[in-house]
Subunit: 120 residues, 2 copies
């Protein structure tokens, strides 16, 4: 990413003259940039964890196929959702977001398994 | 969660007699349980990180409202998607999953902001 590209957002929102006239705008821009840096760090960590998670689910898929177990396990899914909702509440996150996260990863796993099955 | 509930999956899949007759099934069950433990740990970490992420986006929303900035920033979103796709490739994760993750968090943020706006 070029420096020019990185400063696009700042340039498109405020300019130097406006910042001099409105120091509170400059304060907001700085705060938003700091928070966006933290969001990027969180996203980096989550993408790394998702990479590990999908390695684990791929290995579970292989073990299940080898042992002749069914791919889906609804009881396990319900227990996972309940656990994640409780964790979310404790961490100050809307439990619906934790459940949406679970729906997202499970549906991605299924899509992935179907794609792999279709290729083999 | 009760102990009874935790062992439901094992009971529903194989029983002790079957395990004695088929040691390879027991091996698969043990491997799957170990991997599921790792998945649960990853999910715990991700839910904690999502809790922090939504605190950050809520604060950005407040700063933007105060400074009169537009809530959406399409350029920033495109840069984030490109960055996450690259990170995913480096980590051995399907880049489409990283993009789906981004779509998921952004749409949850928007839903949340709309809900907050509707309440105020």
């Amino acid at each position: 990413m070029s420096d020019n590209e990185q400063s696009d957002w700042r340039n498109s929102t405020i300019d130097a003259a406006e910042t001099r006239e409105h120091p509170e705008t400059a304060e907001a821009v700085q705060a938003i940039e700091r928070l966006r840096g933290s969001i990027d760090n969180v996203d980096t960590a989550i993408v790394m964890l998702l990479a590990e998670r999908f390695k684990y689910t791929a290995r579970i898929g292989q073990w299940k196929a080898r042992a002749g177990f069914a791919p889906a396990d609804n009881e396990r899914e319900h227990r996972q959702i309940a656990r994640l909702r409780t964790l979310a509440e404790q961490a100050g996150l809307d439990p619906d977001i934790a459940e949406s996260y679970h729906t997202f990863v499970v549906s991605e796993s299924k899509t992935r398994h179907e794609r792999i099955a279709a290729q083999s």
